[in-house]
């Protein structure tokens, strides 16, 4: 028995409103938050709303966005990658040691650093998958290994210089682009890496397997997922993203021993603001990228409001707690 309900026009209107409201509710909170912060920033700094202003902002935030997208792969599989920050530092000081202002070594150094990154990811993944060390501890150990290793390699102070064509990736521009004029190289890398990671995460089996492992490793294994290998790949992807971000940070900011300090926590925070679930099972690459942009936009906003740097830490702390509390409350409602 099927009954046909003829809605009077007025009711149809409310129904459409309801559908629209449901659609609004489905928008991840990171987007309205980003929009609100961006409007705030552009009120205080009118330059921000221009094309050049947006590009400058994206150029500065690209490395964190790439780090956060890499972190997402590990978070979604149920782990943490705390070795990101020290791998960024090691990438920068390693490159400048190899290059020593000699342009010819730029690409060799990038290749070597990529190799090192893959190795770091493999070791992280091996320790977690095969030695069954919890990733928090495994990557914490890796953090100490890389930090100490970097300091030992350079003797405590950065040596050498980064060549111009190396720094191009982080701070250079492509000239004479129609409409934009000059387009930052960093933003191109951000978009390219973002697209690749988005395809891997959302369109391939690998991405679904990573989410399945994060949701329930037992169930994933029983349904034929090679849990150990997939988990290793997640760590390798995070490490590769980290090396790419490291090259960009080195290009943007130059050589320093503190370049990567604390970035691992920032990337976890950015991912969480972007709706990634800690301990796995949920996440989205574009949302996480926007999480990173939101975090950076908030920092610029606090900066423009004249808040001293230390207090920005405090506000950042409140924001990540708020973001996770919000996610927890809304997900509880859905249950």
């Amino acid at each position: 028995m099927s009954t046909i309900v003829n809605n009077p026009p007025a009711e149809q209107g409310t129904r459409q409103l309801k559908l629209f409201w449901n659609w609004i509710k489905k928008i991840p909170p990171v987007y309205p938050i980003f929009l609100a912060v961006a409007i705030g920033v552009s009120q205080l700094n009118p330059n921000f709303a221009s094309t050049a202003g947006i590009l400058a902002f994206l150029r500065r935030s690209s490395p964190l966005a790439i780090l956060a997208m890499g972190q997402l792969f590990v978070l979604a599989s149920g782990g943490f990658d705390l070795s990101q920050g020290s791998l960024v530092t090691l990438t920068i000081i390693g490159s400048s040691l190899i290059i020593y202002n000699n342009d010819e070594y730029t690409y060799i150094s990038i290749l070597i650093m990529m190799g090192m990154g893959i190795l770091v990811g493999l070791v992280n993944g091996f320790v977690v998958s095969y030695l069954k060390v919890p990733s928090l501890i495994a990557t914490l150990g890796m953090l100490l290994l890389l930090k100490g290793g970097g300091l030992f390699w350079t003797g405590g102070a950065p040596k050498g210089y980064l060549s111009e064509n190396y720094r191009y990736f982080g701070r250079g521009y492509i000239e004479n682009v129609p409409y934009f004029g000059r387009f930052p190289m960093a933003v191109i890398i951000f978009i390219a890496v973002g697209l690749i990671l988005m395809i891997i995460f959302h369109k391939t089996n690998l991405g679904k397997q990573i989410l399945a492992i994060g949701d329930n490793p037992q169930a994933a294994r029983l349904s034929g997922v090679k849990v150990k290998q997939v988990r290793m790949i997640a760590f390798v992807i995070s490490a590769i993203a980290t090396v790419i971000a490291g090259i960009m940070i080195g290009g943007y900011g130059g050589t320093s021993m503190e370049a990567g300090e604390g970035l691992e926590m920032q990337s976890v925070s950015a991912a969480v603001i972007g709706g990634a679930l800690l301990l796995g099972g949920k996440g989205s690459v574009p949302n996480v990228a926007f999480g990173a942009l939101t975090l950076d936009a908030i920092v610029s906003l606090l900066n423009l409001l004249g808040l001293p740097k230390p207090y920005r830490d405090a506000v950042q702390g409140l924001i990540i707690i708020g973001a996770v509390a919000y996610a927890a409350i809304t997900s509880r409602k859905r249950e």
Partner: protein, 331 residues
């Protein structure tokens, strides 16, 4: 007769074996290895001079106290990343309130203990009532404290009176006072975990919140109390550190990496990150392992940077040495 009595027997047997956590074998191996290396490659002072042995213990006091608290929250399947900044906050507030005046010592201690309890309460409430993941909640409160400290204090501030420095430097007979502090905290922690109702509840909640709740436990309250205890141990660590240093500064906690090291020593000591298992005696062994390693490295004159590398490798290997046998997947 009944299955119940067999079960209790089993539990009693397990309790006996649990009294000596596995990690003590590792501690013995590391110590013997260290002494051997010291005899061969250095001057062999570790065995011949008792002050070195004492130094190992004193080095372990600050980390040991806060690691006991960390053990509590980790048995409850939680984690506390804010302890390093709680330690800094304690050191700064203590020396600021005391201002070198002995009569203010009790007041200062009372106030910082209250501050600690408050931090723990906030952590616990965020985790239980707002359902914020413990990693993020305590990272967040840590950032808030860090921001407040770095924004308000830029240097050493205030000082503690000489009478308070006794805690850090005086000896009772041949034994430093601070060791009694460490021993006291470990003992109290052990008693609470092994012999009180709260201890049993904490293991149950850490094993599974759902089952804990279904069997009528006030799971939220248990987690909140564990966090209050953890923050209070951070305060005690901070009090010891400021009594050694004579004055407090915002960087004393993070410089000692007390957050990550307390977690690492707790895990090395056999407490599972997933909760429900472990104890303070294992943690104490984990802390002593760090102390022995530090001392041996100093004796051998190993480069500071290389020390960090070896430390990272040892943390991984120590945890791997028994996690590798577990059938569960790590995450």
């Amino acid at each position: 007769m009944t299955t119940e009595s067999i079960a209790t027997k089993q539990i009693k047997k397990e309790k006996l074996t649990q009294r000596i956590p596995q990690v003590y074998y590792f501690l013995v191996i590391i110590t013997v290895l260290g002494i051997t290396l010291d005899q061969i490659f250095a001057n062999g002072n570790i065995l011949s001079s008792p002050t070195i042995l004492l130094n190992i213990l004193i080095r372990s006091v600050a980390l040991g106290i806060v690691a006991v608290g960390q053990t509590f929250v980790m048995i409850g399947a939680s984690i506390d990343l804010s302890v390093a900044y709680t330690i800094s906050l304690t050191s700064v507030m203590t020396s600021l309130i005391m201002q070198g005046d002995p009569s203010r010592v009790p007041m200062a201690i009372g106030i910082v203990l209250l501050i600690g309890a408050f931090v723990g309460l906030i952590n616990g409430l965020l985790i239980t009532k707002l359902n914020v993941n413990a990693f993020i909640a305590t990272l967040g409160t840590g950032l808030v404290i860090k921001g407040f400290l770095n924004g308000t204090f830029t240097n050493w501030s205030g000082s503690v009176p000489r009478s308070f420095q006794a805690l850090g430097y005086d000896k009772l007979g041949p034994i430093p006072l601070s060791l009694f502090l460490l021993a006291g905290v470990v003992l109290i922690g052990w008693v609470i975990l092994s012999w009180t109702k709260f201890g049993a509840h904490l293991y149950a909640v850490g094993g599974s919140v759902q089952i804990g709740r279904l069997s009528g436990l006030r799971t939220d309250r248990v987690i909140i109390i564990a966090h209050v205890i953890c923050s209070i141990t951070a305060v005690l660590s901070g009090l010891f550190i400021v009594s050694r240093l004579g004055s407090g500064a915002p960087w004393v906690g993070p410089d000692g990496v007390y957050d990550l090291e307390s977690i690492a020593t707790t895990v090395i000591g056999g407490t599972a990150l997933s909760g429900g298992r472990g104890g303070v005696l294992g943690t104490l062994a984990g802390v002593l392992i760090f102390g022995v390693i530090d001392t041996v490295f100093n004796q051998l004159g190993i480069d500071t940077f290389l020390k960090t590398v070896l430390r990272g490798a040892i943390i991984i290997l120590a945890v791997a040495s028994y996690s590798i046998r577990s059938k569960r997947e790590a995450a």
